[in-house]
Symmetry: C2
């Protein structure tokens, strides 16, 4: 392995060489900001995943170190992520109906391992392009529906009641049924937390900007609102003795760092169905984790004029997930919102991730005893507010205005995600996108052409005043030719020939054809033969280089009854019997 | 319903109006030629389908009348068809393991009904375009593999042994095992039949051409070889008393016309699995029947400058299949080879089909007693020779030379058709074609452009000597933009920006972009934003009308940091700081 290969696989070899004091200071400040954000987030996302809170903290340790070693993006913040957390919750609920058991904990660890494996496969076999098939409308529909699912999953925690979290509709139904059992103290604390979290960042910003002109300081300090909410609510719980009022608290969290170990699977005695269910969930978790991480990494890389290698990102995210599994955590991914904060806080290199891991390790060692009194409703409030921004109504409006077909894919994904769960929604959305694309390209736009008077230009006879010649059928197809539209082309030729009884020549303008496959070539052969049988000649004009190269691999040009013309005008000039006036 | 609507649905209203004596004579002659071909073929294809011989005769009666009423193509010869017959055999063998039972007979009738229903759905809901997704390589692979399967299915009949026809490999394995039990008289009769069928048409043609100059008469008479082989072998069987030598004979065939009735399904007590299996087989039979019929109809229509409406063809083929079901026959389709004979014999209107049905009815009424002595091996020989022409080695070579990816789809379809049966082969082939198309269009060709000196042309910097400007990145993407290549475009921009640190402007030449979807639009938004953050401007040149119309449905142009240029040259002239020398 050459050094350049090695430094591609281990990007830190590159940035460590020119690491200096300025970069260190910038990275450290960013790491501090992110650590303060990550402490409440990691607890909240563990709650969201239906897992013990320490698993959220563990997901913010080793995976971050792994990314620092293998990742290329400085601001990217790998760790617990809302969407993959709810996907983990859904996967575990579907696989192990009994909640809060050691089965679920081990299941989450296994999901992290499996996701890591899938991501490594994506990276090493360069399969990252497969994620491109998740179109923008599908992502929008999926994430917006996930936001609704996530928000609704916290209804029970906000009201202090035990709701059935099996599916979106179970949540709604059981919430409606149990709403009269609402625990008032919990609800009040929740409403206070939400108000605090919503207003406080703005107040902090405004206050700071009154005394300092630094937008950066104001922004960074405004990110402390969640940790202030944590401290405040712990204080309230202790002072008002809410523990004995029945407010659910986080409770005992094991102090210290996680043990590095493989899960004891022999004890679990899982059936084949269990493994299958975990595998398919892990595949989708890794795909969604990869898509969101990659788009975040790419957004910041282009801003800094850096190049992100998608395969390498898949590998580093894969190793991050494997190390999540090794340290008893659930699947991780990069969070776009956290990464944006990290970018604005000045993160320069992946060392930021390493420093954040150090901060989280310190929290694990010294902070956990104080978290006992943290009310769960405060975390639920954080989740509630965090996912509001995920519901992308603007993107929906934009898609509706742009193209109804794309919107239908969005809507289907959204509805199925709500009705049948995240996995169904995603898979159906992708299949519908592909079907719509195939439908679209199998019905390409075709223009029958005429000559714009006194010029060498040819335009659609339906849109322009043009000269036509009854002896010549002249048309253009606006799509690459492939199997799905090859017969469409034959149909159109058949139609044009039948409706132009005087025609002796047919010229196909190929300027919009970027590619041609074997089926389309066969159709050209057939058209050539049909026209020959009807005593007509077949001509091609403005064929692109790569298409011509490909056609030349067959004997089509030898069989062609007509000619190949560089420009449509030269074909017309050659074939028309009309005067040209020039 | 207006008269033009009516005559579109009932094409005979159109041609019957101008039906005259000349047309009548032409159609009658063609019908005679086809009837003589169809008598042995219908018996042979019933044998191929593993069904009683009279079912083949029945498949050549009512379905032909139905097509005459509803179909538009004069020469198209609907009736028993080799490929759909072997598909029927496979479907029945998979659904009802016990051969030659009334279950199988009723199953075939139900398949005909179901195929008819599917075809009507295709026609009325205009779903015919779905068949376009069966690409040429998949059809070639499928038909060639089917030819091998069909030929091998007749090995047992040719050797006079009972082989296991469950799959291609069962046939080969059991033939090898039982080859020492070969029935010599049967084999000899088979070899004689094959030789006769192979040589006789040429001899007849040569003889006729010696006495007459009419190619048509020579061709038509050469088509009598199979019926001569029938008569000859019946004579041999009777004269040599081969019945008592153990040569398998066709035996008793019910005399007369089929009863018009619905099958008695209550007696069958079929499970849900049985129905499901029949339904999926019927879907594939109807698709393959439709594809082959439509391409045959279109080939002849274009020659005669007629227009074929695919939806109407689906409907007429659907009704033909329903009437096959009603008259106790198996699924029918148009045979390309028979249609070609009909075309050459001068068939003008679908009345040809009606006259052929009359001919077949006469055969049912008067010929059946004489068929008792027809040896099965003669029919097997006919099948054997008929499918030789289906194995399209030339098309394979052509596809291999043209494009390896297309060839891989062909090979996969062929192998899976042989290994796992016709249904698997077809479905996997279609899926692979779609996957290959998506892969191809998700990795489009991108050219970084430079200016050809002293001109306004821009060409790939890797292929041509061109002028570049370090401040301008100028490139072209050779594919419509959609979700599968949207991120690819972002990747390339990311790469180009990272490798051109001096660039201030990026111009995307859009001349090859025929369409754009919401995902690609989102990528343009992102690219615009990335470039803005990197202090660069983003420009588009040569955007096509329909693409521009679509982009204008969003506020992209308001957000665009750069401009929209009609030509790439005008963009360059505007942005470059270099002298232009003109």
């Amino acid at each position: 392995m050459s050094y350049s290969d090695l430094s591609r696989r281990l990007p830190f070899l590159k940035w460590a060489k020119r690491y200096d004091k300025t970069t260190f200071v910038a990275d450290s400040i960013a790491a501090m900001v992110i650590t303060i954000m990550l402490i409440p987030q990691s607890l909240a996302y563990a709650l969201l995943a239906g897992l013990p809170p320490q698993m959220g903290l563990y997901a913010s340790l080793l995976p971050l170190l792994a990314y620092a070693l293998l990742g290329a993006s400085g601001p990217l913040s790998v760790g617990p992520f809302a969407i993959t957390s709810i996907m983990t919750a859904t996967a575990l609920a579907a696989t192990f109906p009994e909640p809060f058991t050691s089965q679920q904990v081990v299941g989450a660890v296994v999901l992290a391992f499996m996701s890591g494996m899938f991501l490594l496969v994506f990276g090493f076999f360069r399969l990252g392009f497969l994620t491109n098939f998740i179109s923008f409308p599908v992502v929008t529909g999926f994430i917006s529906a996930s936001a609704i699912v996530i928000a609704s999953s916290q209804l029970g925690n906000l009201l202090g009641i035990e709701v059935d979290n099996a599916s979106f509709f179970n949540v709604i139904a059981s919430t409606v049924k149990l709403v009269d059992q609402t625990h008032l103290a919990t609800l009040l604390l929740g409403l206070c937390s939400i108000t605090f979290l919503f207003i406080m960042p703005k107040i902090i910003r405004a206050l700071v900007l009154r005394f300092s002109s630094s937008e950066f300081v104001a922004d960074s300090l405004s990110k402390t609102a969640p940790i202030l909410a944590m401290l405040g609510s712990i204080l309230v719980v202790v002072l008002l003795d809410l523990e004995h009022q029945g407010v659910a608290l986080l409770g005992q969290i094991p102090q210290g760092l996680p043990a590095i170990q493989l899960p004891d699977l022999n004890q679990m005695e899982w059936s084949q169905a269990t493994w299958k269910s975990l595998l398919s969930s892990a595949l989708l978790i890794s795909i969604i984790g990869f898509v969101s991480s990659l788009s975040a990494a790419q957004a910041f890389a282009t801003k800094q004029r850096q190049r992100i290698n998608p395969d390498q990102e898949a590998i580093s995210l894969g190793v991050a997930n494997l190390s999540a599994g090794l340290s008893g955590a659930f699947p991780v991914a990069a969070s776009l919102s956290r990464s944006a904060v990290s970018f604005n806080a000045g993160a320069k290199t992946p060392a930021t991730s390493a420093f954040t891991a150090v901060g989280m390790a310190i929290s694990c060692l010294f902070l956990t005893p104080y978290l006992y009194y943290l009310p769960i409703v405060t975390l639920a409030s954080m989740i509630f507010l965090a996912v509001l921004s995920l519901f992308d109504f603007k993107a929906m409006q934009r898609t509706w205005a742009f193209n109804r077909k794309d919107f239908s894919a969005l809507l289907l994904t959204m509805l199925l995600t709500l009705l049948n769960g995240v996995e169904w929604g995603l898979v159906s959305g992708v299949l519908l996108s592909i079907a719509l694309h195939l439908y679209r390209s199998s019905h390409p736009h075709v223009a029958v052409l005429g000559r714009v008077p006194e010029t060498e230009h040819f335009r659609n006879i339906e849109r322009h005043e043009v000269i036509t010649d009854p002896e010549i059928i002249s048309f253009r197809i606006d799509e690459s030719l492939y199997f799905a539209n090859a017969r469409f082309l034959e149909d159109r030729v058949n139609e044009l020939v039948a409706s132009n009884p005087k025609a002796n020549h047919l010229i196909l303008m190929c300027s919009a054809i970027n590619d041609i496959d074997a089926s389309a070539l066969e159709s050209l052969f057939e058209i050539n033969q049909y026209l020959k049988d009807a005593d007509m000649t077949f001509h091609l004009s403005e064929v692109k280089g790569p298409v011509l190269d490909r056609i030349k691999r067959s004997d089509f040009l030898q069989q062609l009854t007509g000619n190949l013309y560089l420009s449509h005008y030269s074909a017309w000039r050659d074939l028309t019997s009309q005067p040209l006036y020039d």
